[in-house]
Symmetry: D2
Subunit: 255 residues, 4 copies
Amino acid sequence: MRDIQSESDYREIHLDRVGVNGVRYPIRIKDRQDTFQHTNALINLYVNLPKEFRGTHMSRFIEILNRYQSDLSYSKLKNILIETKESLKANDAHIEILFAYFILKSSPVSNIQSYMDYTCQFIASQNDRFDFILEVNVPVQLVCPCSKEISRYGAHNQRGNAKIKTRMNGMVWIEELVQIAENAGSSPLFTLLKREDEKYITEHAYDHPKFVEDVVRDIALPLERDKRITWYQIEVLSQESIHNHNAYASVTKKR
Amino acid sequence: MRDIQSESDYREIHLDRVGVNGVRYPIRIKDRQDTFQHTNALINLYVNLPKEFRGTHMSRFIEILNRYQSDLSYSKLKNILIETKESLKANDAHIEILFAYFILKSSPVSNIQSYMDYTCQFIASQNDRFDFILEVNVPVQLVCPCSKEISRYGAHNQRGNAKIKTRMNGMVWIEELVQIAENAGSSPLFTLLKREDEKYITEHAYDHPKFVEDVVRDIALPLERDKRITWYQIEVLSQESIHNHNAYASVTKKR
Amino acid sequence: MRDIQSESDYREIHLDRVGVNGVRYPIRIKDRQDTFQHTNALINLYVNLPKEFRGTHMSRFIEILNRYQSDLSYSKLKNILIETKESLKANDAHIEILFAYFILKSSPVSNIQSYMDYTCQFIASQNDRFDFILEVNVPVQLVCPCSKEISRYGAHNQRGNAKIKTRMNGMVWIEELVQIAENAGSSPLFTLLKREDEKYITEHAYDHPKFVEDVVRDIALPLERDKRITWYQIEVLSQESIHNHNAYASVTKKR
Amino acid sequence: MRDIQSESDYREIHLDRVGVNGVRYPIRIKDRQDTFQHTNALINLYVNLPKEFRGTHMSRFIEILNRYQSDLSYSKLKNILIETKESLKANDAHIEILFAYFILKSSPVSNIQSYMDYTCQFIASQNDRFDFILEVNVPVQLVCPCSKEISRYGAHNQRGNAKIKTRMNGMVWIEELVQIAENAGSSPLFTLLKREDEKYITEHAYDHPKFVEDVVRDIALPLERDKRITWYQIEVLSQESIHNHNAYASVTKKR
């Protein structure tokens, strides 16, 4: 059968990325306890396409995902990308793995356990050098400092999302970024809370009012002090309970 | 050209609904001030398909939407469905029109105006008789009564959505259902608020704590008293600010 | 601490459903090979609320999910709902578990294996009796019979989704419904295909052109013959490649 | 009332962007015929926040949107951003306006008209200089060249999306980018087609098979020749009808 994809192209246009997008796959990832966590991922895997070739070979991307599906931990990403480059005869390879990551948390007073889900993403590229971005999304509660200050009682508050992306020169765990973000909000969120926990969280959150601007800065401070972090981007979105839109703040910094 | 859709079918299976789904269209709808509001809609239009026929003619649905696009108000729905039945030689026709509806609201203290969007839906069917359901989604703030009661200060609160569906024997305006839902929450939401408004809303909401269960019941009470309402369904979802999941309550009642 | 939820309510309005919505949880489900499949679920768990009580106790729902998280197979649903009823002192309990289910499939010619994801849902209720609906979503290819017939060559085709819901009086596996839907489309979908597979699928699909109406009926036929099926609902949506909207057909039948 | 937002901040962290996100608003935009098109938009409006200040004033963003809501055409963006900078005492302002844009199209043979929706975005920034990116999303049909070549008959095809972003040094209309993308696919899409149109499109598409790579390149070629274009990014996604995932290709180029 004719291999149209390998035929030569006359248009003289190099493509930055070609490949498969939105592959929903069951994967396993090593967590901080060095045990495997099973989860579902949405995966994009791309290579560059030199101007000489008409198309890429989409099935090879899936063959590689198949081989690594039982361990898609951070430590395997470089190998996947090198294998992808070789298989597709490309100079660059790029992968994005979006997944739900579950952490067993204890409630603050009653100490009962439940799983909280954090949407995470591995974003990695390989050409001559390897580049890796870890993305962690952490839901947090935000109590509005302005509302608290100007009101005789109460303060509007709401669920928000803190998205942290980092480049690192040493291992940083998802759990570490989660803790930084949860410390920066008015309160962390929990799946299971008894009433004594709810009382504690309500009062703690009211004692720590935060604008989206505050949460971004209070995440940035420990990242600034951390020698492993070489670049970060922080975006915080607050689903305002008094508006039908969101408040937003962000910062991006290379160190 | 052969008309395959009109050919006879041997499988002896009547289909309840066939047609077009997810048609994104610019429409106009009459509002309470009898002026036309321009908005965008997502439209489904279906008929039944008797077991004798293999398929329906999808283009005719679009031709009908085209004719009515400049006025898709409630009063035109019956005509659209009758025309659809005739055009497709069907016994039943059914339409769903999902659209953003904008209401110009004044903030509670400073009285400045801004538009709030309410996702609404017209759901109408015509066979021997005409059936119409009006759906209105109203974002509201909910202050948790339990959190307020057990905490020394503060109370977790959040944005929620109150969905009301009604069948009626007389005209009920979207604006009326919006007001019922906004009265039933701890506070309405606004797009534009100055600080004096934020103070008012914070205190007002704290003075009116509501569970999702309360909001459903406080919407149901005025619907129960309203002689125009013959059936209702109320669903309230609260995007809990202390959890990463929602609280939910609902009731459906024929009167 | 005062238990506000348990206090009496004066509004005389019984609520059909109250509880937790959108809980994202890691679960395990037994598959046809009797081995556990790990996946992620989005869970709703509700009870009714008699008119005498002001609210439900949201944390108890999560405690129950926690206990069953390691085995949320079909066979456990009745126990979960009975436990929920007892824990919340309710007459009705209702659960919805939406999850990605992965099946290892072999490509039609080269016989290489890859995982395909099928979005499934368990919908179960318990009052005096137990009710269970199995929902399976199966992506299929649809080649348009009209386009094939009227054109000198080619035929537009596209990805579609066949949603089957069934009530049963005997065990029906997800895999069985997947196979029925895949047989009813022009071709099944695969995550990994080599060129010989692509040739086979292209020709096979062209030889089996199907309208959405055909797919619904060709799913209904084997369900009609199956004595285990007591009720079914079939909805097929085709993401038309020549339109920016979808074609739709459905049937619901109690037997 | 104390103005907490204006108080000084000690954390020494400048924020790139703070403001409102996801404001759903009814807007009007001038189209190529110089008439106003009414549509709905989802708007983000941000400024930078110097390290000296604790927060921004969210209500001022909405006041500005209110003033420009009746004409949010391209020509007004610079004024909006300058006004936002002044109102918030900021150095940078940034706006993103995502909206559905409708074009009345004639079908290729029968010449009947219907509206097609194209999701567009204005992305504009103002600091010392003004930067503007026009984004247009164009649904197209893609017939797979490999499938056509290796199969005795038929060819799998599907709906895809071509996203074009451009920076320009002269006016480029949305309609121009739509036409470039529609020429680059195997066939444009239409909301309303009669059978003679469907025959034409089926044969035309089969005669013009395109990989995602081809569509990207065939969009890039006219952009390369256009002296008004100073930068472009093209991303094409094909919702493969034989897979449950997508094929993807992209290129970004500054000229």
